[in-house]
């Protein structure tokens, strides 16, 4: 809300406090002042009179003027079309600050010019805020002809010297969007008296009326209506149009201005109808009106069920709480008006306002909530101003539908509880002082304080804790001490999942991968092209963009698109990982039952995943001939190494040829990871079709279910006895068909070798020269070991022969 300090000063004295200090004190008490701006930036502007005005000899539009500024007569060149002899003008003297700079003495095409004649725009007034009748939009401003020349306070007299505070109250303090309530708050902060010009009951006067008011909806629980006759439209009083101007509201005429002015004062949006448009003198608020309706802005809106509509004789007369109707508006010849001061449900108003895209001041105020007494206050004040400034008379009695349903909140707090919650030693007298300043009417009994809360604070102050907040925010937090909670000692620790995440992070970092955190919301492609998608994708109802529309059910698209981004920026070696939950839709069979318990099932599936992507080189050390090009085997080793560190060695984990997803993975360079017969992951080369979508090549990707690893009972550390007897290693090179798998050879060799063979590994695979096409040479390293003696050759030889025989027999291997 824009607050004019001058206006504020009319309720509570603030003009003796520096405006920045004032703003600080208000902010520190919890009502944030976001900005402080002068109404006009202009300095050294005086009133003057054009006493001579001749065309410039060297220009077809400039005037050469002599301007009387009281103390002297200045030569000034002016280009405004309305510049002429005899008018009273605003003169910026040499050295004056205007919106666009400083005025200097100069010579314009040979004629001296010592100052400038101004329009209000040059003083920093916005074009849409120019007063009625102003010439400033096309020329210089013309002042009334009785203006005294040389008045140095002319801007002040025109109401243009003021400070504007941009006040941004938190949602619980919507009351501060009304000047009267804001003034009460400032009075409490400064500990100063506040005078509110509310004449309680002023509107109660009035003669007989035919007016009838109804509501058929609970969303309009209270409606005050009143007819005021013999109203005379005309300009507003100067003070009112100036204050409205300062608050950013354009002055129209006295009647319209009064409705706006009272809204700013009380927070209550008012609406005035031309009584001629309501011959039945009947108003019914409904929420089941349907059809097109043209509002004050001239736009026709389609109203639907649920919108609150003011009707008269069954016809729409206004969109309640949002905007009045074109057919019932005040005209220049209006004489009788019907005043509406009503309460409309904040949710209903917000709904209609959002649906129609019609964000009006009235709608915003209803949506934020009103003082329950605001209708009464506003009616009293509006009638008073209409009588004083629009010659309103022949008033009819106020008609009330419903009531304001208001009883003041009474809140009880003890000093023990207050100091106990805050950890303070605030004295009873200090607390009572604050509560008095806030008009909470504190009654003290021992250390117990009973407060009666003013109507405009009734939404916010209901509980003892609310009283505590009021007390400490006004006293200030500066004396609050620093202590730590004194409660039972507890053992802080990470759970298994959190620990596992840290292990993964440490492993990945040590192996050269960078951790990314990417967006949960992905696009259509990403949500339909993933590794082991957890379930059907979940869509958000109103996404910011198509790129971020679906909750990801796999991490694959996030990592691949990050690779694509980096490749597009000429970063080629991109090796990344991400740890994140993914989600899948999983509607429940049963409806949700409230209140809920934390153990209730959720209507979605969730799983923590690790995604890994490799591309380019993992290590680059050309000088030492040690660069590591990523491929299937690098990915495999990385994942197996990780699984081993997490407690899952090769005996527990099975890698199985991938047959379940050959759309996103290379059908011959990918495997699934199995734990206890369940698929818990997949990795391998990315399918060229998917690479093509992201415009990337040679990408290896893996994704693993981390929850399965946490819950899969990982092995702990086991120490084996060191063998006292040396082991012996024998190498064996064989040629087999190319499709024979290394793992099968090793397993067969080990099984044929029996218990003295402790391990069989492949240390070389060769195809090419000297090996027939379709065949490969495989070199095995077989380690023999016994725990009770040193093995001798004549023990090993028969075993080695048996292994060879087996490989020859099973795989038609040929020993080299």
């Amino acid at each position: 809300m824009k607050v004019s300090v001058k206006w504020l000063n009319s309720y509570v004295k603030v003009d003796d406090i520096d405006v920045h200090e004032l703003a600080d004190r208000i902010t520190n008490a919890g009502i944030e002042v976001e900005g402080i701006e002068p109404l006009t930036v202009a300095t050294s502007v005086v009133s003057g009179e054009v006493i001579e005005c001749a065309p410039h000899p060297d220009s077809d539009h400039l005037h050469v003027c002599k301007v009387d500024v009281g103390s002297e007569v200045l030569d000034i060149v002016c280009g405004a079309p309305n510049c002429r002899k005899g008018i009273k003008v605003l003169v910026a003297l040499v050295g004056a600050q205007l919106k666009d700079g400083t005025i200097k003495a100069s010579t314009i095409r040979g004629c001296a010019s010592n100052g400038m004649l101004c329009s209000l725009l040059e003083l920093g007034i916005e074009k849409n805020m120019l007063p009625l009748g102003s010439k400033s939009d096309t020329g210089i401003e013309e002042l009334p002809l009785d203006t005294v020349n040389g008045n140095a306070h002319i801007l002040d007299d025109l109401g243009l010297v003021d400070w504007i505070l941009d006040v941004s109250p938190t949602p619980n303090r919507a009351d501060c969007n009304a000047m009267w309530n804001f003034a009460k708050e400032v009075g409490a902060i400064l500990n100063r008296d506040v005078t509110i010009p509310w004449i309680d009951g002023y509107a109660n006067q009035g003669g007989p009326t035919k007016l009838r008011i109804y509501s058929t909806t609970a969303n309009c629980p209270h409606f005050l209506g009143k007819i005021v006759n013999h109203v005379q439209l005309g300009p507003s009083p100067k003070w009112m149009s100036e204050q409205l101007h300062a608050a950013g509201v354009k002055s129209i005429n006295n009647v319209v201005d009064i409705s706006n002015y009272v809204m700013l004062e009380t927070g209550q949006p008012l609406h005035f109808y031309d009584l001629r448009t309501n011959p039945d003198q009947e108003i019914t608020v409904v929420d089941d009106y349907q059809g097109p309706y043209t509002a004050l802005d001239g736009i026709t809106y389609d109203l639907v069920k649920g919108d609150l509509v003011i009707t008269s004789g069954g016809k729409a007369a206004g969109i309640a709480g949002v905007m009045g109707g074109d057919n019932t508006k005040i005209e220049n010849d209006t004489t009788s008006i019907l005043i509406e001061a009503a309460l409309f449900d904040h949710a209903a108003i917000r709904h209609t306002s959002n649906r129609l895209g019609l964000q009006t001041e009235a709608a915003s105020r209803f949506a934020k909530g009103l003082d329950p007494l605001a209708q009464r206050k506003a009616m009293d004040r509006a009638v008073e101003l209409l009588v004083k400034y629009a010659n309103g008379s022949d008033m009819e009695a106020t008609v009330e539908y419903g009531n304001d349903q208001y009883t003041p909140n009474v809140v009880v707090e003890t000093m023990e509880h207050l100091n106990g919650l805050l950890g303070t030693h605030i004295a009873l007298e200090s607390a009572v002082d604050v509560l008095k300043r806030l008009d909470f009417d504190p009654k003290v009994d021992g250390t117990t304080i009973t407060c009666t809360i003013p109507s405009y604070r009734s939404d916010d102050v209901k509980l003892a804790a609310d009283i505590d907040e009021e007390v400490i925010r006004m006293i200030g937090y500066d004396d609050l001490t620093n202590t730590l909670p004194l409660c039972e000692n507890s053992f802080g620790s990470l759970n298994a999942s959190q620990k596992q995440r840290r292990m993964i992070r440490s492993y990945m970092t040590n192996h050269g991968l960078n951790e990314i955190i990417s967006f949960t919301l992905v696009d259509d492609y990403g949500s339909t092209h993933g590794a082991l998608p957890l379930g059907p994708r979940i869509a958000v109802a109103s996404p910011l963009s198509e790129e971020h529309k679906y909750v990801r059910n796999s991490l694959m698209s996030s990592l691949l698109s990050t690779v694509a981004y980096n490749h597009a920026h000429f970063i080629k070696d991109v090796n990344l990982y991400e740890v994140s939950s993914v989600y899948g839709d999983h509607p429940l069979d049963q409806p949700l039952v409230y209140p809920m318990h934390y153990t209730d099932p959720n209507p979605w599936d969730q799983q923590e995943r690790l995604g890994i992507v490799l591309s380019g080189l993992l290590e680059t050390n050309p000088l030492v001939h040690h660069s590591l090009k990523t491929d299937y085997y690098v990915m495999k080793g990385l994942i197996e190494g990780l699984l081993e560190q997490l407690g899952y060695d090769g005996k527990r984990i099975k890698l199985v040829e991938n047959t379940i997803d050959t759309d996103h993975f290379h059908p011959y360079q990918s495997v699934t990871i199995q734990l206890n017969g369940q698929t818990i992951g997949i990795f391998g080369r990315v399918h060229p079709a998917m690479e093509a979508h992201y415009d990337i090549q040679d990408i290896y990707y893996g994704e693993i279910d981390l929850d399965a690893l946490v819950n899969g009972h990982p092995n702990g550390i086991k120490v084996k006895t060191i063998n006292k007897y040396p082991s012996t290693s024998r190498d064996l090179s064989i040629v087999v068909k190319e499709d024979v798998k290394a793992a099968d050879l090793c397993a067969s060799a080990k099984s044929a070798g029996g218990k003295l063979v402790s391990s069989v590994n492949v240390f070389d695979v060769y195809t090419g020269q000297h090996v027939e096409k379709g065949y490969k040479s495989v070199s095995l390293s077989i380690v023999y070991e016994s725990f009770d003696h040193t093995l001798k050759d004549d023990e090993i030889n028969p075993i080695q022969d048996k292994i060879v025989d087996t490989l020859v027999c099973v795989y038609h291997a040929v020993q080299r």
Binding site: Y477, P485, E488, T520, V540, Y583, V624
Partner: protein
């Protein structure tokens, strides 16, 4: 006797002249071998008288020892020299690049989360997490933000349907764990996680990270909150910062406060970072609202508690001097690799 001395001098001279180990070995064979001059001297001995024999024998032995010692000394010298030659031949260019095992980097968001976790685990807190797809019930209802509460405007939320949404704050975790621990108090929790709001510019990302803390027990005070937050600021930004409270509003706390820290850039003197105020806003917090307790089945007359919530990206931006929140989510390697260091 002269003969012995001559042999000795000739031998020493030959040793002196030997330039390498082979030559020296040849000298050893020549002089100390079975057919060498020293052995020849022994042959003379049999012709000597009984008195002369011991004298002569001792002198020959001395000669033998002297030559052997000289050979050994020369051998050591030659070995040294040979080693030096070998070493010199192994000279390399020490300025060429070393072998760099490629270090990865931890995400800056994660660095801050881990720092907070470590700080609060040390204070006996448990780390609690919860779902990012969340029910309106836990995100809003239980946080004292019923339908059509004006505070819902503060958080433009990604709704999925009438019941489900993407959580708009980690308060939803607090509400779940409060329910879980309602019969098992006191409790001290830290709740980090991703949150989502329909908002996007240089200071807002539609996804960001929060970390909330919650302590519930008997006699927990606002002063305890301040002490705890001071502890946290010390842990993240180093000692020497002070914090201050300003009144604020959150539906789930009462009283509610915004927390400022003395600017770590200028030590509170005022600079561009703190817009000249000397203070930097770092988080929001307050005492748990009695309604929140009641909904969790906790008696607010017996228990009290505090809660705080901090934006992780904001802390990271302050700590590492990052200007645009979107940098966290672009995942440009040139950005990520800055976080290779341990500190």
């Amino acid at each position: 006797m002269d003969t012995i001395e001559t042999v000795k001098q000739q031998g020493l001279s030959a040793i002196e002249q030997a330039n390498d180990l082979d030559a020296l070995n040849q000298v050893r064979i020549t002089y100390l071998g079975k057919k060498g001059p020293v052995q020849d001297l022994m042959k003379i001995m049999k012709d000597l008288s009984a008195e002369e024999k011991p004298k002569f024998g001792a002198a020959v032995n001395d000669c033998k020892k002297a030559l052997a010692a000289a050979i050994e000394a020369k051998q050591a010298t030659l070995k040294d020299a040979a080693l030096n030659v070998k070493l010199e031949s192994e000279k390399i260019d020490l300025t060429l690049d070393g072998y760099h095992p490629h270090n990865g980097s931890v995400n800056p968001i994660q660095l801050i989360i881990e720092a907070l976790e470590d700080c609060f685990v040390g204070l006996g807190y448990t780390i609690a997490e919860g779902p990012e797809v969340e029910l309106d019930y836990w995100n809003f209802e239980r946080a004292n933000i019923p339908h059509d509460h004006p505070a819902r405007d503060m958080q433009d939320t990604f709704f999925i349907d009438v019941n489900r949404l993407l959580r708009s704050h980690t308060t939803s975790i607090q509400m779940r764990v409060l329910d879980e621990y309602s019969a098992d108090l006191p409790v001290k929790l830290l709740c980090p996680g991703k949150v989502y709001r329909r908002d996007s510019d240089a200071t807002h990302s539609h996804q960001f990270t929060q970390c909330e803390g919650l302590v519930v027990g008997k006699n927990i005070t606002l002063a305890d909150l301040k002490g705890t937050l001071q502890f946290m600021v010390d842990a993240i930004f180093g000692k020497g910062r002070t914090i201050r409270f300003r009144p604020s509003y959150f539906p789930f706390t009462e009283p509610s406060v915004e927390v400022d820290m003395t600017c770590h850039n200028c030590n509170g003197k005022g600079c561009a970072l703190c817009k000249g105020t000397g203070w930097i806003e770092i988080l929001g917090s307050g005492m748990v609202h009695p309604h929140v307790f009641e909904m969790a089945g906790i008696d607010p007359n017996i228990y009290s508690g505090f809660a705080f919530g901090v934006g992780i990206e904001r802390l990271a931006m302050l700590k590492y001097g990052i200007n645009d929140i979107r940098d966290f989510y672009t995942n440009d390697l040139r950005f990520l690799e800055a976080f290779k260091r341990f500190n």
